[in-house]
């Protein structure tokens, strides 16, 4: 069996970024479990900052630069996606949303997705469920039930001592792993000229 492809999208802006840090933790937990089950996995991590102007140019011109095209192909052709964004002004960052806005809205159909977010305080944690989850649902992706939110305090002594960040990460990875292991998305051949088999070049009307 060929290796599964795992794509990671991180919309953090700073270097280093806690968003990327969370993404890496989620990847490590996912890869560890897949490896344990004997499933080989290739990880492609995308920092959206690196293609930020390409994303905006795509928004304006309608087509992706070669650099962004490569990123889009890696993400949409994966067996699983880990998507992590900082929460800005009560929602995902504009950069994060813009990347998903320029994708073909059918390109994430059936994609197993694990969503994560970071912010200064835990009061923003519901943004995962009122912003990110519905967006991926609209795209017909399969979002695992556990999403992972990391507030600044999660990285230190103020963290939740009962359901710790590592616990939450592990639980979420555990939900993503079987979906990635079972996925054949990365080996599917997509016909760019595929259209509905019922299409008739002369139009579809049948007089009753």
């Amino acid at each position: 069996m060929t290796a599964r492809k795992l794509a990671v999208v991180s919309a953090g802006l700073s270097q280093p970024s806690s968003t990327r840090m969370l993404a890496d933790r989620l990847v490590d937990a996912t890869v560890a479990r897949l490896t344990e089950q004997g499933v080989e996995v290739e990880v492609t991590t995308v920092e959206l900052r690196d293609v930020a102007s390409d994303i905006m140019n795509n928004m304006l011109t309608g087509f992706a630069s070669p650099k962004l095209e490569a990123v889009i192909d890696a993400v949409t052709g994966a067996d699983g996606l880990i998507a992590v964004t900082p929460i800005f002004t009560t929602s995902y960052s504009g950069l994060f949303k813009s990347f998903f806005d320029v994708l073909d809205n059918r390109s994430l159909t059936d994609m197993p997705v694990l969503i994560g977010a970071t912010a200064g305080t835990a009061r923003h944690s519901l943004a995962l469920d009122y912003a990110l989850r519905p967006m991926f649902t609209y795209l017909h992706a399969v979002v695992v039930p556990t999403s992972v939110f990391a507030a600044s305090e999660d990285w230190g002594s103020g963290a939740d001592q009962v359901k710790t960040l590592p616990d939450r990460i592990d639980r979420a990875a555990g939900e993503l792993v079987p979906l990635v292991a079972a996925s054949d998305r990365s080996s599917q051949v997509r016909d760019p000229f595929g259209f509905d088999a019922s299409l008739s070049p002369i139009g579809g009307f049948q007089p009753s």
Partner: protein, 371 residues
């Protein structure tokens, strides 16, 4: 091979002077541009159709009818005629009228249009764009080919015993190109009928055009109209020239940077490397345009967008001079080199009439035998 220009008819403020043409002045400019295109030896002028500002040309058929009276040789086409929101009966009638007025010096490029509100303004739904294009064109073809049409469909009131007038000139329907940026369904439709396929080409990377044209060619052969390399292909293009390459870049940059379609986005350099846009010397335009053949094969029609983004009339006319005097003669010579003799030219009224006459000359014999 045919060379020409197409105009979308945008009304855009000249970013270097701040002046904005009126509908009236822009219309007059376009009439001048079209006539100048004939003067410099171009083969085709194609006019866009829009129903929303900042575009003024709601009726390309009216513009082309005027031009038919003012010109002698140039083929008057469209870029594009909206097959989705127009009534195919009116398209059949109006363009047959133009066909007579121009002595057959016309054809049409059909497109769907991508402006959301235009659909509901004309009682349609943009989500039905493809089904509208397929059904309405199927009717349009019949209206030109059958004297009396009975018809029923999803998107128009039924017809019983309807005859579209005037009947096409010499009994030959105008040639049709189907234009599309990204819809394989339209390439399929063009291939099904053996009509032309016009790839917008200018807004998207060459790799995309290559795939779409390749698909159309393959399906053209599949439907039995000839070999894939004999399919009828047209391409858009976009150039700005000065004798000296640096002068072209310097002069065009403010127009590029503020253009409605791509302004404030990618740099001129990025856009030039990623799309067919060429800004430079006539030789650079020649080199890049000849390169189109490398990825679409021998093709039939090349149209350039020259009058947009607020460029003043004087500049556009200078561009046409360069195109007609320095670029197109070389392109004609070079594109003809190594072109297989059995790759056809774009159909014209004369060539379609010859085909029809040949067919007719053969038909009575069969009829006689049968009767």
């Amino acid at each position: 091979m045919q060379f020409g220009i197409f105009s979308v008819g945008d009304i855009t403020t000249d970013p270097t002077t701040g002046t904005t043409p009126t509908d009236a002045s822009r219309l007059q400019d376009i009439l001048t541009i079209a006539q100048h295109a004939e003067t410099v030896g171009l083969d085709v002028f194609a006019m866009g159709e829009h129903h929303n500002p900042p575009f003024f040309p709601s009726s390309p058929v009216a513009i082309n009818s005027y031009l038919a009276a003012k010109t002698d040789k140039i083929i008057l086409s469209t870029a594009t005629t909206l097959i989705t929101t127009n009534d195919p009966v009116r398209i059949a009638e109006e363009y047959a009228m133009l066909q007579h007025l121009s002595g057959g010096r016309m054809d049409l490029t059909l497109g769907r249009g991508n402006t959301g509100p235009v659909y509901p303004w004309f009682g349609e739904d943009i989500r039905q764009g493809i089904p509208l294009a397929l059904e309405k064109y199927a009717l349009l073809r019949r209206l030109w080919r059958e004297d009396v049409v009975d018809w029923e469909g999803q998107f128009r009131t039924p017809l019983q015993g309807f005859t579209s007038t005037p009947r096409p000139l010499d009994g030959v329907a105008p040639f049709i190109w189907h234009g599309s940026i990204r819809s394989p369904e339209i390439a399929e439709q063009a291939a099904f009928y053996g009509d032309g396929f016009f790839s917008n080409h200018i807004f998207w990377p060459a790799s995309h055009t290559q795939k779409m044209v390749g698909f159309y060619r393959q399906r053209f052969e599949h439907y039995g109209h000839g070999r894939a390399d004999q399919a009828i292909v047209g391409l858009g293009g976009q150039v700005f020239m000065r004798k000296n390459s640096q002068d072209a870049v310097r002069e065009f940059r403010p127009y590029f940077d503020n253009a409605p379609v791509y302004g404030h986005g990618p740099s001129l350099e990025d856009f030039t490397s990623q799309t067919p846009l060429t800004v430079g010397s006539p030789q650079e335009v020649i080199d890049k345009t000849l390169g189109f053949r490398d990825y679409v094969g021998d093709y039939q029609r090349q149209l350039f967008l020259m009058d947009h983004a607020g460029l003043p009339l004087k500049t556009v006319l200078e561009q046409l001079d360069l195109l007609g005097e320095e670029v197109v003669p070389v392109l004609r010579r070079e594109f003809a080199r190594n072109r297989p003799a059995d790759v056809p030219d774009a159909p014209t009224h004369a060539s379609l009439r010859a085909v029809a006459e040949t067919a007719e000359a053969q038909t009575p014999l069969k009829t006689k035998v049968n009767s």
